[in-house]
Amino acid sequence: MESEDTQCLMDDIDAMFTDLLGEMDLLTQSLDQPTVVPEPLPSTTEMNYSIGFTDLNESLHELEDHDLDALMADLVADINATEEKLTAQMKDQKVPPPPSSDLPAPPKGLSTYSASSIASPTSPASSTGSNVSTPASSSASPLPPPPPQSAKPTMEEIEAQMKADKIKLALEKLKEAKVKKLVVKVLLTDGSSKTLMVDERQNVREVLDNLFEKTHCDCNVDWSLCETNYELNLERIFEDHENLVEPLLAWTRDTENKVLFQERTEKNDMFRNPQNFYLWKKDKKALKEIKDRDKELLVQENFCGTSVIVPDLEAVLYLKEDGKKSWKQRLFQLRASGIYYVPKGKTKSSRDLVCFVQFDNMNVYYGKDFKTRYKAPTDFCFVLKHPQIQKDSQYIKYLCCDDAWTMNLWVTGIRIAKYGASLYENFKAAEKAAVSSVWTNRSTPSSSSSSTPSPTIKAKSPSQANGHAPKPQPGPVSQDFGNVPPPPPPMANILPPPRPDAFLPPAPPPLARKNSAKPPPPQRHLPTNFPPPPPAMDNLPPPPPPPPMDDALEAPPDFLPPPPPAAGFGSLPPPPPPSNSFPPPPPPGSFGSMGQSLPPPPPDPGFLPPPPPQPVFTGGGDFMSELMLAMNKKRST
């Protein structure tokens, strides 16, 4: 099958190359008249909105539609690019063309993945990006005939004067054409789900921002994306800086794995309660009473220095022995360089430690229900494994702790060791986003979200590029759809600023909290903290400190009150959502109708109980054409 495809690919090379040239041509044209691009945008925006208003479901499933549109744009462009051959192949062979073309190892995972319950239309999407073959080689392989150097001359032939930036643009295009995309179904806490398109370059933070936009949640820092592994009963919080597509590509064909959108307090607990991790040896009562300034100091000390300090954990944990059912106790230590254990009869000195695992190709997961499943001593288990491994294997390390506290300590400690400073950066970024969203939600409750426009644009722009923007006839329509997502956000973005002015007073609090309460205090605390020890020198009763400096100390606390108000704002958003979702309130009836209007496409199947994935997959060939049909039908209505 694969060889066939490569054959087919070869055949297509010519066509694709002409395409490429044509594209460059168009590009240069568009460069000459830059207005061309902007023009379509406004109209698309309008269109989008009109749809949104005519069909109430639309707003609920706004996302799905955008995605479908984008998808369609890609598909159509793709199909055109490879001409009827591909389409013919699709129909004749009933083979999902993209998956099959998706080359060997990784693609396999990809196509299977697409069939999974989560992301039905995935494979088409991703393969679109790659134009038939593996994303990586796709755009390049057609090129060989006229390698890059010759690409230059060719262009010169076509257009006598070729400017540098044009090539650059073309290069970027080439790059973008390779971008993999997935359509991901994300389960929300209320049991519903959202489906969104994620491209390879997007990190979890951007996806979260997208989800904030879709769900009108309160955007607090605890919102997380988690992956579950059905087969192994595992669960893991994605870190905000991780790319989402990559780990999802590791999922197997018929996987029941899921992506969840949840509030998880443990995600950032090391910044809120650093004492639990860095002073874990102290008794728990003392830890509860620790002062805020001491917490801040701990965060500063451990995350803001030249290197991130990993909590020095040490505990007897149970280890499930390779391939066996028994659990054995061992004394483990966590260090920045990995997890170690103390061999029997040896001292705890560093040089005697034996390396148990390093973190390069390892992720840490929470294990669920291991007591019954693996006969673990307790249910507080965590697991270390290569992200690629999806099934039980001797290469998975199963560890079991005495209690939940210990488990959290270790999982968090391992995350700190593995990701280091990124975690703190993520946290700060999330905090910032949360504050700004509180702010924007408050000032413009009606506009769904302005906090995330830029990521959205970034995220979506590839899709636009991917759609082979300036191209064949069917393109225009679908492309415009593809372009839809970006426009709205900018508008939303423009709105908020004016409002704030009106509400000036409230504005400061969040800011004040951010600016004053954050970095400065810690440093300031210090001096005051130790009674400017000079007095101590005097050998006796140095009245602790509080000279003038103390004011500085008090200052932050004074600033602290504002947060409450800020938090108040935070609580405000919830109300908005209702009003916010004025487009959403989806009459159940129309909901159903919507489902009908879009029979085969992904959203529907994806919506409720994950349907048996296989059908979707095998029907892939049909699926594509059906998808097109559906889209057309929908548009005509």
Binding site: D165, K281, E301, T306, K348, C355, I389, K391, P527, M537
Partner: protein, 632 residues
């Protein structure tokens, strides 16, 4: 007022010259004495740096407006007239020795500030001076060969920040010799010889080290340091503040040297894995610093377009050719249980995958299998002498890891395939720009192994053939043979091979700082109410109490909970009160109480630094925190 005779020895007249006798009255101020003295010597020169040193009282008479009476000087006083700045032999963290003029009359804290100004080291408060270990005479060979870099010609400037020229202080740009000294200061040294490590490790010891620190609040003369004596300059307080590679060339390289020695001498404990990584980083740093022309300010970034084009070119090149040439053939066999045989296949490397065919002829068709290497583990299994070149691949799949062995025919092929596998495991294709350099470094590691295993023969004595033994502590010399050590270091090396010099140094420092025992200075103390000696560890943010018998940390106190501390100098006891009514007291067994006291106060001072104030050092606060009542 009655006049009396005061005799003063003038150093400039020579050691044998008799003291000059002046007729003075008690109400004469010190400035007047000096004036009289200078007139009497009849030497024309700049006397401005000179001052009087009172030998019995061990103090400088620096307040020229004070009268002799006020100082309490009588006819029996032995006074010495001499310059305040004198040459000193300064041992640097990198093992080199400088000769430079330093101030003998100010507290050591200020003397260090002056030294750091000359050497262009920011944040002098983190460094201090200590007495060198007395070197045993039997190691003569070392003394004789030691080179001393002379900086005594550098004019003493009072500017707080020397003006920079070519990225170095102006006084280093004066002559080629001076420039060479700056290079010595700012460029990391090649790994030391094993013999030297052993030599130094005999001398050094964790516990004795901190006892030798000089007192920051007293001057060099008061601490018995004489003209041209040798002292060491070292980082003392490990709360390293505001490191900025742009300005900190000397600081970073000296810090790196100190860290490297701490690790080689096992002053700080680390695990085997960490040691290998330190070794790999040292190898990389020395390699890069030898090849990379220093002071080369990163040339204005290449034109965007050009580089973009170039990278595309490489990419396309690699990708297109990867379908045909690029792929030498290879033999291999997936290890099936106990089967040992290898079967020959035709291999191709494509993007980040390997695929194999029955034969070359079939390589146009469908491969038997294609395996993506992304995220896989690559381990070498090489024995140059036996001509064994195996690459062991642990390739992740959803069911677990697949074990695959590739056997190469020769070094050349091995280096290429190894490099390709490494890149593949990182998700990079052969077109990646690092491919060639990866091949080279693998080649050079093979060469290392050759030279270390087969000592005879004319091994290429290039700088590539660094002895792995100089990269790890002596413990590992004993534990492993070179041919065991080399692959392990190479293994760690693959993760750092792409770092720039600065990044590699920073990484080294980061890993060092991440060690659990980082920044700890140890003192033997006896806690109040305890009958045995224990160890007090002083870290940048906390005090720890260590049980000598077990070596376990018994208790930790953090400075930020500290309310006050007192010193009872008579019984050499320190008492510290923490929040929550926690009181501890201990007496110092080995060290001078002052050293311990200064350490704690010093760290508290370090934590008071903040960005706004960082330009001017609050010396007064430092002395207040560290000096004890006897200071000031």
């Amino acid at each position: 007022m009655a006049a009396w005779d005061l005799s003063v020895t003038v150093e400039d007249l020579g050691p044998d010259a008799p003291p000059v006798t002046l007729s003075v009255a008690s109400d004469l101020h010190v400035g007047g004495v000096i004036l009289k003295l200078v007139e009497k010597t009849q030497i024309q020169r700049d006397w401005s740096d000179h001052a009087l040193w009172w030998e019995q009282k061990q103090c400088w008479l620096l307040r020229t407006a004070w009268t002799l009476e006020k100082y309490g000087i009588h006819a029996d006083a032995r006074l010495l007239f001499m310059p305040q700045h004198k040459p000193l032999k300064l041992g640097l963290p990198n093992g080199k020795t400088l000769r430079l003029l330093v101030c003998f009359s100010n507290p050591v804290f200020q003397t260090v500030m002056g030294i750091c100004r000359q050497l262009n080291i920011r944040h002098p408060e983190e460094l201090s001076l200590l007495r060198p270990v007395e070197e045993k005479k039997k190691k003569k060979d070392k003394d004789s060969t030691e080179e001393i870099y002379d900086l005594t010609e550098v004019p003493l400037s009072s500017a707080s920040r020397p003006s920079l020229y070519n990225g170095m202080p102006a006084h280093f740009a004066d002559s080629p010799q001076m420039e060479a000294i700056y290079k010595m200061l700012s460029v990391t040294q090649p790994p030391p010889a094993l013999r030297y490590i052993l030599f130094v490790s005999e001398l050094d010891c964790k516990i004795s080290f901190p006892l030798r620190w000089l007192d920051s609040s007293r001057c060099l003369m008061q601490q018995g340091i004489q003209d041209s004596d040798r002292v060491w300059l070292r980082f003392k307080y490990f709360s390293l503040y505001d490191i900025e590679p742009k300005y900190d060339a000397v600081r970073l390289s000296q810090l790196y040297e100190q860290a490297r020695w701490a690790i080689l001498l096992e002053d700080i404990d680390c695990t085997e894995e960490e040691m290998m990584l330190f070794g790999a980083l040292q190898y990389h740093i020395s390699k890069v610093s030898q090849s990379e022309p220093q002071m080369l300010s990163s040339s204005a970034a290449m034109d965007d377009l050009e580089s973009a084009l170039q990278s595309l070119e490489v990419k396309l090149d690699g990708e297109s050719s990867s379908a045909s040439e690029m792929l030498p053939c290879d033999c291999f066999r997936p290890k099936r249980l106990t089967l040992k045989g290898y079967k020959q296949y035709w291999f191709k490397f494509q993007d980040t995958s390997i695929c194999y065919f029955k034969s070359k002829e079939e390589s146009i068709g469908e491969p038997i299998q294609q395996i993506n290497l992304k995220g896989c583990e690559v381990a070498p299994d090489v024995n140059v002498a036996a001509q064994k070149f195996l690459i062991r691949l642990l390739i992740p799949a959803s069911e677990g890891m697949n074990e695959v062995y590739l056997r190469c025919e020769n070094e050349q092929q091995y280096a290429q395939w190894m490099a390709a596998c490494r890149l593949g495991s990182k998700g990079k294709s052969l077109a990646d720009s690092s491919y060639q350099s990866e091949i080279e470094s693998i080649g050079s590691f093979l060469a290392m192994q050759k030279t270390s295993s087969g000592s005879h023969g004319n091994s290429p004595a290039s700088d590539e053939s660094i002895n792995t033994h100089s990269l790890v502590s002596p413990r590992y010399h004993k534990k492993y043979k070179p041919k065991q050590l080399t692959p392990r270091i190479l293994d760690a090396y693959q993760n750092v091979a792409q770092l720039s010099l600065t990044d590699a140094v920073m990484r080294f420092l980061q890993i060092w700082q991440a060690l659990p025992d980082f920044g700890l200075s140890y003192f033997v103390v006896r806690f109040k109410g305890s009958r045995k000696d224990e160890v007090l560890g002083i870290a940048p943010n906390r005090l720890i109490r260590i049980d000598l018998g077990v070596g376990d940390v018994v208790k930790t106190w953090r400075y930020n909970n500290m309310k006050q501390w007192n010193v009872n100098w008579d019984i050499r006891q320190m008492a510290i009160e923490f929040e929550g009514n926690v009181n501890i007291a201990f007496s110092c067994v080995t060290a001078d109480c002052k050293i311990v006291h200064e350490f704690i106060g010093g760290y508290i001072f370090m934590s008071t630094r903040s960005r706004e104030k960082s330009d001017t050092l609050n010396q007064e606060l430092f002395h207040k925190l560290t000096g004890g009542h006897e200071a000031l």
